[in-house]
């Protein structure tokens, strides 16, 4: 093979080669880290919220008249919602996954101050919660209607029953191998709550939270002038029902406003807007970068071909075949790219370590580095192919002309 001569020729004229290698190296550092961030965001976005997202819609009811009978409105609203054809179930709650705002409390397994707790999102609601949210009860029981009470704003206290997510149960009772149903935890430091049921999975309202899988249901109906309704519909009925239900509630009682009417898809879109924008921006950046680097290689190779016209002509005159000329440029580029991706691999890893420490990002997966290497090798080869083919068309007779 021609490795030796090509390598020596490169060393004689290394300025340009080093520049391309450096360019490939920095391109690789950007590419690897962008892909790593895109992958982190995409993974986050793919986590299930736990809700029956495709068939769920939500709106808020805000009452503004000081003398309004909020409880009556609440009861009436839910009855109307649940009785509408196409609606599977509905519930009044304080928040839901991906909403970005909600209530969290610390839970502990022993009562008392300064025990340190496990954080959990609190979802208030009645016995219709499980079906409306579309979660599965995997252990224990649902709330019975007698366990559910209306919240008293003048005397708030924690109801003694909760339904928790499996992840929360595992964090609270890590050593428990059997059922956690019947066990007692303490909320608000001293208030005992008994676990009566366990659901498979449900996210807290803050998708960026470290303990996003910690959530619990508390059997409380909140009707103090602000209610957030979640409605689960039959498949395919959601979009049709949203305006219909909104209109139905708004006209049923004019002392309040219906706001924030949206499907769960819209909730998800809003929650992950930043992440999906980041993916789009980074995707755009690495595409553009690859194009620029590729065009740079094309430009330099073209220059090199025209600079070496005579040299190539002489080689051809001395018997080098067209494929041999082609191979020369391809191999030369392969060597430069190899130096570039090796240096680039080191740069990429260094940059990733720095970013993980500074910005709390997830460390990259190992395969991103070899994948980026292969992509950049291929880009280099593709970029050099055109000029190299032009080189093969140089006639051997060029050698006989004086330059």
């Amino acid at each position: 093979m021609e490795f030796g001569p090509i390598w020596r020729a490169l060393l004689k004229n290394k300025g340009g080669a080093i520049l391309i290698a450096l360019q490939i190296a920095v391109t690789m550092a950007i590419m690897v880290n962008s892909i790593s961030i895109m992958q982190e965001r995409a993974t986050n976005m793919q986590r299930p919220s736990g809700m029956d997202e495709a068939n769920t819609l939500t709106f808020a009811s805000i009452s503004f008249a000081s003398d309004a009978d909020n409880r009556a409105t609440y009861i009436n609203d839910l009855e109307m919602l649940r009785n509408t054809p196409g609606v599977i179930n509905a519930v009044g709650t304080n928040s839901f996954p991906l909403r970005g705002g909600g209530w969290s409390m610390g839970l502990q397994t022993e009562p008392g101050e300064d025990m340190g707790g496990v954080g959990s999102a609190i979802y208030f609601g009645d016995e219709h919660m499980i079906e409306t949210f579309g979660v599965e009860l995997i252990d224990g029981e649902n709330f019975s209607p007698e366990q559910v009470v209306f919240l008293d704003p003048d005397n708030f206290r924690w109801e003694p029953y909760v339904i928790v997510t499996e992840a929360l149960a595992k964090t609270l009772f890590p050593d428990e191998e059997g059922s956690v149903v019947g066990k007692t935890a303490y909320i608000n430091q001293n208030d005992p709550v008994q676990i009566i049921g366990v659901i498979d999975q449900l996210q807290a309202p803050w998708q960026g939270w470290d303990e996003v899988e910690h959530a619990l249901f508390s059997p409380v109906k909140r009707a103090e002038g602000f209610a957030r309704y979640v409605v689960r519909t039959e498949p395919g009925m959601r979009d049709e029902l949203l305006p219909q239900l909104e209109e139905m509630l708004a006209s049923a009682d004019k002392t309040r406003l219906i706001r924030a009417a949206q499907t769960f898809d819209e909730v998800r879109e809003g929650a992950y807007l930043g992440d999906s924008a980041m993916i789009k921006i980074l995707g755009f950046v690495i595409t553009l970068l690859t194009i620029i680097t590729g065009l740079g290689i094309v430009g330099l190779a073209s220059f090199n071909v025209s600079r070496r016209t005579r040299q190539i002509g002489i080689r051809r005159a001395l018997g080098a075949t067209k494929p041999a000329i082609m191979r020369y440029f391809m191999l030369e580029n392969f060597m430069i790219s190899s130096v570039g991706v090796v240096v680039g691999g080191a740069l990429a890893i260094g940059l990733n370590i720095f970013m993980v420490e500074t910005f709390n990002l997830t460390p990259m997966s190992w395969w991103v580095v070899p994948a980026a290497m292969i992509v950049l090798w291929l880009v280099g080869q593709a970029a050099v192919a055109g000029p190299a083919r032009r080189a093969t068309r140089i006639a051997p007779s060029i050698a006989t002309r004086s330059g």
Binding site: G15, G16, L19, I20, L22, Q23, V26, T27, A29, I30, N33, S34, I37, I62, F64, A65, S66, D67, E113, D114, G116, P153, D154, N155, F156, R157, N188, Q189, N190, L257, R259, G270, L273, G274, A277, M278, K280, I281, L282, F284, V285, L288, L289, I292, T293, L295, G296, G299, L300, S302, F303, N304, S306, R307, R310, L351, F359, N360, S402, G403
Partner: protein, 439 residues
């Protein structure tokens, strides 16, 4: 000579249109990427009240739990309890002081056919407007008496005045919200600080509130808080009085400190206050009072999103790739002209004049790249605005001011010149007549 070199540069650029275009485009794209992100970072973190930011201080006191210090003990809580806000407000130890929180309202229009609508609201005291240099279009802030006697008076924003009264002078008119009727005493002029520095709890870049009313009135009528509430210890009881007496933090508190002496004096007062509260069994943590100014407050509250910093780092690397690209291409160009250069050197051109010639050629590419870079930055900002079109505030963050425009051009020229240095130096190394052998 300069004009001659310009002409030579233009000729050389025209001789290789594709490559010259590639160089200009690479610089423009690199500049565009950098400047787009830098503009957003610049706007996100820009001081919204530069002439006064050092005099405006948020009060921080460590009222948190000893067992579980706030933020791991790195800094005191970022809000105050109602108890402390009320005490500090009543003590009036600073030139001006305000306690404030966010509280959304529902407007009930007088015309029964018109539907009620929600607006954002803020409970605060009269000093708010003077402290933060809030401009008025009509009327003025309410007076101290209104704060004292919990009056139903309000100042409304320009957009709300537009919506409710078509933009005319509405002072003296009334607005009913959630059953309470307020008298409008002032209408703000356009006021949209890029950073809503006085309350960074939720979205640091959201617009200012639609309506402002006295803190005392809001408390007397039990208005709810729309911001964040954090508690380390449960309230001793389930009603509002217990909540107000609790260690829950939910109020922003600002003071105006005109000079160093006033700062020392206020710090002393705060220390004495906390010591006194410690005797009452509160403030279990060691004494840690702080008075961060607006810029320090913005840094503590991380108003610049981490994602923007990550993107800025990547954008700078991107520009480096574009420059390496340009250096490579310029170098190739020089190497192809070694014969030319050696001939000129043989005919008496000095290194200095060759240097001038190639630097001018590179500079032309740099200026072209910079001008085009303003265009690409503008496109980049447009793209970002589209990605975030659900949020109004993105409009404020994606504006290229003259500083950013000047910076874009400067960055382009400096980049192109930096990129030209090595190729030009190589050109100057060509020895006279070395390439003139007959081959």
């Amino acid at each position: 000579m300069f004009r001659y070199y310009l002409k030579l540069g233009a000729l050389s650029i025209r001789a290789n249109p594709a490559l010259s275009a590639l160089m200009v485009a690479a610089i423009a794209i690199g500049i565009g990427a950098c400047m787009t992100i830098f503009t957003i970072q610049h706007m996100m973190g820009s001081n919204p009240i530069p002439h006064k930011s050092e005099q405006l201080r948020h009060v921080q006191m460590d009222s948190w739990s000893d067992a579980n210090p706030y933020n791991g003990g790195a800094n005191p809580p970022i809000q105050l309890t109602y108890t402390d806000a009320r005490n500090l407000l009543a003590a009036e130890q600073a030139v001006r002081q305000i306690a404030t929180f966010k509280s959304g309202r529902i407007v009930e229009p007088e015309d029964p056919d018109e539907l009620p609508y929600t607006i954002s609201g803020r409970a605060t005291s009269k000093d708010f407007f003077a402290m933060f240099d809030v401009p008025f279009k009509y009327g003025s802030a309410w007076d101290a008496a209104a704060d004292l006697s919990e009056e139903f008076v309000a100042v409304i924003s320009e957009p709300l005045n537009e919506r409710m009264f078509g933009g005319e002078d509405s002072t003296g008119k009334r607005v009913t919200m959630n059953g309470d009727t307020f008298r409008i005493v002032g209408v703000l002029d356009t006021w949209s600080p890029v950073v809503k520095f006085y309350d960074l709890n939720n979205n640091a870049h959201e617009p200012v509130e639609d309506i402002f009313f006295p803190f005392s009135t809001a408390m007397a009528n039990e208005y709810g808080n729309d911001g964040n509430t954090n508690c380390w210890k449960p309230p001793e009881g389930g009603d509002r009085a217990a909540f107000l007496n609790s260690e829950c933090i939910w109020i922003q508190f600002w003071v105006e400190i005109p000079n160093q002496a006033a700062e020392t004096e206020y710090m002393n007062y705060l220390d004495a206050y906390v010591e006194q509260q410690k005797e009452l069994g509160r403030f279990p943590r060691p004494l840690d009072n702080r008075l961060p100014d607006v810029e320090e407050w913005m840094i503590l509250n991380e108003v610049v999103d981490d994602d923007v910093s990550v993107l800025l780092g990547l954008a700078v690397l991107f520009l480096i790739v574009c420059l390496l690209n340009t250096i490579g291409l310029l170098l190739a160009k020089v190497m192809r002209r070694t014969k030319d250069i050696s001939l000129r050197r043989a005919l008496g051109a000095s290194k200095a004049s060759l240097f001038g010639q190639y630097i001018i050629e590179a500079g032309m590419i740099g200026v072209a790249g910079g001008l085009l870079g303003i265009g690409t930055t503008w496109l980049g900002l447009l793209g970002i605005r589209n990605l975030f079109n659900r949020f109004d505030f993105v409009e404020k963050l994606t504006v290229m001011d003259w500083q950013m425009t000047a910076l874009a051009i400067a960055l382009a020229v400096v980049s192109a010149l930096a990129a030209a240095l090595y190729p030009t130096w190589r050109a100057c190394q060509v020895t006279p007549a070395s390439q003139l052998r007959i081959q």
